[in-house]
Symmetry: C2
Subunit: 523 residues, 2 copies
């Protein structure tokens, strides 16, 4: 009945106060599970020609521009780069990238090959970004996150030999299921399991862990159905399958390779995941088709000032070096705080404090092109991710072009925070590449022989963001930072509970413009 009452209340609010109020009410009541995003935002009411200046044409800025123009605002967008997307970025043949310090990498991939140095996958529960893909007609294809045939690797486990995920997963699960079933069966756990549940719980463990009638996980054709066969079933003569040997359960537990099983089970990584066909920047280009005419490129903001009359932004045209000024009634500022902190502004309070102190995550990603797709041809790995305890952390195989001839590009590493990111930041591109090969060949001995070319992006060295994503050590100033500061509201992944995800950028933007619009309409 609680739910019903809330629904009725929401209907009432919707009917009497318009959908902006409805949206707020839903948010504040924590309704609208499973997603806070329940379809296109509705910004009702006439803004009467009010002008909004949007700073930054990443997904937060693009969302704001798209929705506010639709709501009747005059919109101007200033973007530092020569293209849309921000971190929603894809590197292809012919692209060039100069990092802080001056090193330039020219991307030399074969036609059609690419790497997404920023966001690279869309969870199926990120409803806002999926809905924008639908509305903007950005075709999606599955991103393979979990591949049972990929490798798990720890340098000091199993003599440094990578293990197939399916072996670790099946054997670990079988082993713990056997332990629990035996414990229950021997009456060791009578305090914890009621006698009513005992039999069916053991039966479930036999299913879950592939245990035999004696509740054991043993070498057999039955366990091979899960972990793979020693010899696969075939056709005709001599086609009978043979069971595979199990790994030593103690070695599995001590190896800590089980650490790599959890990620795939988190809601943001659960199958299915998606990616735009042809590269992540397909989303940016989808927005560009709608609002490209509003954007001024190569515009480096140097000052953001507001007073009782409006907002004034001074910017340099990085093409010709000239300085210009744009004014508006309001501003949606999606410039990362790492950069905004270096810009002259008169924002105030907790927002200003956060801008000046927020730490940005470092992260390094590599795109490596190889002559052929040896991971498919030699190792039957089609998409998915191998994990390692080396600094590169992971190798991800392309979720597209399966079974095609080479060359192919894989993600040669993806570091996340911490010491390793600093080390890679300090290196020149060539050195970073060498490390990716040196560590990658521990997983794939074919690496050196098959390598063609590569590119890496160390996010602390990316001039227009100086990091990968905003980090809240605690969220002490969060409520202040997301508030509208007079005529300016900030938005982006850094002002969300989904940092580093495009969904966070979009949801932050939708919330910001919804409140800004409410202020414009209702004062």
């Amino acid at each position: 009945m609680t739910e019903f009452t809330r629904r009725n209340l929401l209907t009432m609010i919707g009917a009497t106060a318009g959908s902006t109020a409805m949206y707020h009410a839903m948010t504040s009541m924590g309704y609208a599970a499973p997603s806070d995003y329940s379809g296109p935002i509705k910004l009702d009411g006439d803004p009467q020609g009010a002008k909004v200046l949007v700073l930054g044409a990443g997904l937060a800025g693009l969302t704001a521009a798209y929705e506010m123009r639709a709501a009747g605002y005059e919109v101007e967008v200033l973007e530092f780069r020569e293209k849309v997307g921000g971190r929603c970025w894809t590197l292809r043949s012919g692209d060039s990238f100069t990092e802080l310090g001056g090193a330039t990498q020219n991307v030399d991939f074969a036609e059609g090959n690419y790497i997404n140095p920023g966001p690279w996958r869309l969870p199926h529960d990120h409803h806002a970004v999926l809905d924008y893909c639908k509305r903007l007609k950005v075709p999606l294809e599955p991103f393979i996150q979990l591949n049972y045939n990929s490798y798990l690797h720890k340098s000091d486990a199993f003599d440094g030999k990578p293990q197939r995920l399916r072996h670790i997963k099946s054997d670990y699960r079988g082993h713990v299921s056997e332990l629990l079933a035996k414990g229950i069966n021997q009456g060791d756990l009578d305090k914890l399991v009621s006698s009513d549940d005992r039999e069916v719980l053991i039966e479930s463990l036999r299913s879950f862990g592939a245990l035999n009638e004696q509740n054991e996980y043993v070498k057999s054709l039955e366990t091979s159905v899960y972990r793979g066969y020693g010899k696969q079933p075939g056709g005709g003569v001599g086609a009978e399958p043979e069971a595979s040997d199990l790994l030593d359960p103690q070695q599995i537990v001590q190896s800590r390779l089980w650490e790599y099983l959890a990620t795939h089970e988190t809601v943001d990584h659960q199958a299915p995941m998606f990616q735009p066909v042809g590269g992540m920047d397909g989303i940016a280009r989808g927005f560009e088709r709608e609002v490209g005419d509003l954007i001024t490129y190569n515009a480096k903001v140097v000052s953001l000032q507001q007073d009782e009359n409006g907002v004034t932004v001074t910017w340099e045209n990085t093409s010709d070096g000239g300085t210009q000024t744009s004014t508006a009634d309001y501003c949606v500022c999606t410039i990362p705080f790492s950069v905004l902190g270096q810009i002259d502004h008169n924002l105030s309070g907790g927002l200003a404090d956060t801008i000046s102190t927020m730490y940005y995550n470092g992260s390094t990603k590599w795109g490596l092109e190889f002559k052929r797709r040896f991971w498919e041809e030699d190792e039957n790995i089609y998409g998915g991710i191998s994990y390692t305890d080396q600094a590169i952390s992971q190798i991800s195989y392309p979720s597209t072009g399966y079974l095609s001839d080479g060359p192919g590009v894989l993600l040669g590493g993806y570091t996340w925070r911490g010491e390793n990111s600093y080390k890679f930041n300090a290196m020149q591109p060539d050195e970073r590449l060498e490390w990716a090969l040196r560590q990658g060949e521990k997983i794939h001995p074919q690496y050196r022989e098959e390598f063609k070319t590569g590119v890496s992006v160390a996010w602390h060295k990316v001039p227009w963001v100086l990091g990968c994503s905003g980090v809240w050590e605690n969220r002490e100033n969060y409520d202040e930072a997301v508030k509208i500061d007079n005529r300016v509201v900030c938005a982006g992944e850094h002002l969300s509970y989904l940092p580093a995800w495009q969904e966070g950028a979009i949801l932050s933007s939708l919330d910001a413009i919804s409140r800004l619009h409410d202020k414009v309409i209702n004062g």
Copy 2:
């Protein structure tokens, strides 16, 4: 060292006896893990104009025709239907299908929509069929088998309300992990777990089961990371996530919904799986591009006779009713035994016994078209399978065209053996459709309102196979049935250890033609 010795032996065999012998030796030694299929077959040696008659243009027959022509044989293929593929079959708009009993269904799907009534997914470890896709340039895309957002349903569990897979999986795993961790921690399992392993095993269970520091699986943001949130994390104001309620663990165990978790973990269903873009018959058409010129369609074999001089096949042209005869030196017969048993033949021994006695599995599949993709729009289910204990067994959502506008076609049911298949076989198409809707709407209440059109295939009523796949109750006569009987060798999924899989058909064919070729060359 064992491996090395075997390798050397194989090299020796390969060098001295040709690759056919090599292939046999590998098979008989159980080498070549992880796959018995290690690349294109090589049939060395000149067959000197020998002619082979291939009966049936399903995947087994097409493989035989393709490889034997390449090896220098004169090849003639007789196919009962008007097209290639056999059970590798896709129904699209404009197709018509008449089942035994005379009922005709005209497929009325929208342009581009289709259903695969036979095989519908390719495991990533089915190396032969994947390799043929590569060689025949059949583009593949991921088939989503496991979708954490799909439903699990038992009519008498949770008041008949479908449960999201992620909730059942996370909560079940958390619950059993908690039980085991507590049992170990309380010393209940000291006999089973060495003191060296205890701590790290408990730590692994905390990771595996999302347990807290007290080894409990409780409502929290930490468990919501796995099972999904009550309120999802958002952006801006009021964006803090809220934890979701757990299901009652006893109810989960007693519901037996855990039964539906195992399939996805079997090696033939582990992620990633694939499907040909545009329909399974893309594989058949790939073969057709190569060997279409060898095939006579609408050829109903009525007699297969062999003697010391050759093979004589009598067949009816079903277009004009005329009777014709084809002769050859050898025959690869891929006609399903369910049909071959009704054809006049002089095959002998255990093969003849098997032909006359083999039982063929029934199975029914439905393709249902709906006005819109409500499973995506309303329920955020993109591909994957919902399972139910109702007769339809499962509903599978299309692994293609994600986020597109309707109409969309899903698999409305897939029965497998047993009583339900008989019941559906006995029905007329309209009645089968009604049952699919009646049961499907228990999972998706939108069914009736959104339904447009549908088609169903009850495999016992498919004239050219009379079942879905050959069943070996035991494999008593298997060794006899796969033997070359003088000048005839039989092949197909029914003569493999991978029944009902296309991989079984191909591997059976490769093995059969390899032995036949060996006989032709070496006598």
